[in-house]
Symmetry: C2
Subunit: 114 residues, 2 copies
């Protein structure tokens, strides 16, 4: 059983880390439905333009999104549709965990009522 080469889990961690920001999550979810110009992302995400640009830059560096200039605007899109699967799986896990907490809460309440 060979040990996992060192740089690999670092790469995986870096990858997940780029997803670990609310604005970047929002961008990816908006791009699920197709390419969008920055201007449009900006109207849906309440954040300063320069901040959005910073987060878009992070996503670009990681290679999760691509950007194309079209005249005066820049249009962003997902680099791979797999991202959609990832977000869906994450949501499922989150749902499970919240449900689990709900059950736990219910148990605690039932217990307290005895």
């Amino acid at each position: 059983m060979s040990p996992m080469p060192v740089p690999l889990y670092q790469a995986k961690a870096d990858f997940f880390r780029t997803l670990g920001h609310p604005v970047r999550i929002r961008v990816l979810e908006l791009l699920r439905d197709g390419p969008r110009p920055v201007r449009e992302l900006l109207t849906e995400i309440e954040v300063e333009a320069s901040n959005l640009s910073q987060q878009l830059a992070v996503l670009r560096r990681t290679g999760l999104v691509g950007a194309v200039r079209e005249g005066g605007t820049v249009v962003y899109s997902l680099a791979t549709p797999d991202v959609v699967d990832l977000l869906a799986t994450a949501r499922r896990i989150l749902t499970d965990m919240i449900t689990g907490q709900g059950e736990l809460l219910a148990e605690l309440q039932a217990e307290a009522a005895e």
Copy 2:
């Protein structure tokens, strides 16, 4: 079209952020194959005991893993098997993205062939 409630993408971001650390990734991948005592994780992951404990605490708080004390040792396990899907999807995306950067690609393929 109602906007996504604010705390939700924050929750998603927090979730991904807990995955954004090489030691935590390693732990989750080791737990894929079943529950393991801390002592055993420690032999496979080269890190100080207190550091591993800190990272395990992060995973516990997020609810991704569970811990049970068995005598002198503590055994960890995945809280939900969905985590396995998430890691697999992430690997697929990484594979897509780094095609052309030989080293990492080879490692990913070797891992997939296990």
